[in-house]
């Protein structure tokens, strides 16, 4: 038994983090937040070279054939850098959807495109994920109709992958007739959401799964775990920043980190955040290796990181004092990233409700 990372995983993590630190200094992040598409062509292409896009894609389609744990580690690094990259939808969820629900021909067509960074999927699972906001989607005769709100990773999407309530998914090119997408700046200025409407848009169904709902849940669960990992990275960044600030800032003739009030707050943060790392690793590993625990751990991990992330985001901001509240310091990019992740693919309440259902804990009115 070995509950840890391999040398290869640590090396990939180191190189990804070093790359992101180099490419995304604060002024660059600010510049990318301005148009707010959540996408930067040169960053995207460089990440292709690092092999990020093909992490989960089998080798025969040009990927690395790795697992959800590897994707979670990458997400943690992206969250740490607040990187505007449509990662969860394209690299994780769309890839999982093609692996679990597509025919060999569909996999042949799309997976190499994803691995090469030549398409960008935005994924919507309106009824399954339990996001708030109205959504109505129906498919008939190979055409998709309906409306979606707050679709993530859609700022520069080339394709939409839309789940129907029965667990079947449909692929629609973003430039197909009948598709209209309106980008909305979100609370996280580095990542927009989109309201998308389909008016008899031509769509291709992914029909190869024997149990479409089960396959759809695998996509959702992987997405939730990876979002939780992103939150973990962002929260760790905020906490590290607060610790560093507490060692520098002097008030009343003392470094503020010598005051017990701050020490205890920071100790509290570490105590709740550090076990989250093990939790994310465990849940990510479970997606590939422990199928009987995959759904429950995904629900709990998404919910728990949503709550812990919120606490860390607030406390770390407070510790930075007035500067933490200003735009100047830029700490708010991580605060907002954590807020965004919390609401996507179902908030903590929804995820815990699903966890209860999985265990047969039904409410009795």
């Amino acid at each position: 038994m070995d509950f840890g990372l391999t040398l290869e995983q640590r090396q990939f993590d180191d190189s990804l983090r070093a790359f992101l630190a180099d490419r995304l200094p604060m002024e660059r992040l600010r510049a990318l937040a301005e148009p707010g598409t959540g996408y930067d062509e040169s960053l995207w292409r460089s990440l292709v070279e690092l092999g990020l896009h093909g992490l989960l894609i089998p080798e025969r389609f040009g990927g690395a054939g790795l697992g959800v744990l590897d994707a979670a580690l990458a997400a943690e690094a992206l969250g740490h850098a607040a990187a505007p990259v449509p990662f969860v939808g394209n690299v994780v969820m769309a890839t999982q959807a093609f692996i679990n629900s597509a025919t060999e021909a569909q996999q042949d067509e799309y997976l190499p495109l994803i691995a090469g960074g030549d398409c960008r999927f935005a994924v919507a699972l309106p009824s399954l994920a339990g996001q708030t906001g109205s959504a109505s989607i129906a498919m008939s005769g190979g055409r998709l109709s309906g409306n979606l709100v707050a679709v993530a990773d859609a700022g520069a999407a080339t394709h939409f992958l839309v789940y129907l309530p029965d667990g079947h998914a449909a692929v629609v090119p973003a430039d197909a007739s009948g598709v209209s997408s309106r980008m909305r700046r979100s609370v996280d200025r580095t990542r927009p959401v989109a309201d998308v409407s389909f008016d008899a848009a031509p769509a291709e169904r992914l029909d190869a799964a024997n149990a479409p709902l089960v396959a759809a849940h695998k996509v959702l669960d992987a997405g939730r775990v990876v979002l939780a990992a992103d939150t973990l990275g962002a929260a760790q960044r905020m906490l590290d920043s607060a610790v560093a600030f507490a060692k520098e800032r002097v008030q009343f003739g003392r470094v503020i980190g010598s005051f017990q009030g701050l020490k205890h707050t920071l100790a509290e943060c570490v105590t709740v955040l550090e076990p989250c790392r093990g939790m994310v690793w465990y849940a990510a590993y479970a997606q590939d290796a422990l199928p009987e625990e995959a759904r429950l751990t995904a629900c709990h991990t998404k919910a728990h990181l949503g709550d812990i992330g919120r606490d860390i985001a607030r406390l770390a901001t407070e510790i930075h004092g007035g500067m933490g509240f200003t735009d100047l310091l830029g700490l708010h990019y991580w605060f907002k990233r954590i807020s965004f992740n919390r609401q996507m693919l179902g908030g903590p309440e929804r995820c815990r409700e699903e966890a209860a259902d999985l265990q047969g804990w039904k409410l009795q009115a």
Partner: protein
Amino acid sequence: MDLKLSEPYQALQAEIRAFIREHGDKSPKVGGGRKRPDLKSLDWQKRLVEHGYAGRTIPKEYGGFGAAPDVMAAAVIASEFARANVYAGLTNQGISMLVPTLLEVGTEEQKRQYVGPTIRGDLIWCQGYSEPGNGSDLANAQTKAELRDGNWIVNGQKIWTSSAHYADMMFLLCRTEPDKPKHDGLSYLLLSMQSPGLEARPLKTMTGRSEFNEVFFTDVKVPETQIVLGRGKGWYVANVTLKHERLMIGDAGKMTARLEQLITLLQTSEIGGVKLIGIAEYRDRLLRLQGEVIAWKAHNLRLLTEAAQGIDSGVKRMIVKYGGTMLGFRLSSLAVDAFGAAGLPYESLGEDAEDDDATTWNIDYMYDVGLMIGGGSTNIQKNIIAERGLDLPREPKVVGRA
């Protein structure tokens, strides 16, 4: 990451299962600790030591099984016994704290004399650390020992001494070098609880039980050789011991067991014919705790792996005592709330008999508060996490007498 057991551990697992099939009926009842082991427990403990399920890594010459240190093996053993609901052996301060300390810093003679009887349960120890004036500031211990004619003469008082009323021996932190700075003036002595001049008075706690004692020393004679590591080394030795205590308290197995009991409790308790698990407010609290326990178990697996690789886990280990006692308390809190008004009758039968479930949970609920205070209180833990784990500056020293 690979959570499957490799071949040697699968073999160990099979061997334990066979042992439990053959001998399991002789196991004493799980739980109900905090008292002197009876004959059945002692007999069981000897069987465990003989097979290497207790005292596994203790060298043979000191009465153990002599296996190489292997945290994975320890984890497999713990989980197999828990799974079969069979008693996994004695846990007390002698076994968990003194034995590893002696193995690390004791003399050959001390190891030969004390380790074997302690792991077999024949010798029960208590810990003489805290004093009425020094709770959290352990290094400020004032109980003094002077060397006269080949004996340490001990005078002073200890408090919060668990199991002193039935212990055979005590490991004692006392001041032997009054002229030296406080941390350098302490020594660590081993003494008999039968020593003339030593008196243990049970101290009733908020649970209504006497889990602790006050211990008074009046010219208690301790042979000079009963010192561990040497004069002025007491603070170092005490820290070796505390390291083992803090790990003991954050046990993930206890959290898992408590969560399982809580789930059953909420599935069986009712208000007006509705099961608590079907009431949103109770269910939500249970779900939050389930998430926390999953995180805690994963954290434990991470620590276990690092320990097996000889890595010092640093701040990850420092959070265990604080995080573990808080989680334990939140779990027992929900249980107490699930019993509600019907669980208020509190008629503890003491150490001699088994209490009803509501009383047992109420005892745990209160005892958990004691755990937050003992062994380095919550606020001290937070200082340790911040200062040693995050490298924040220490509190400025108050000018004047320490």
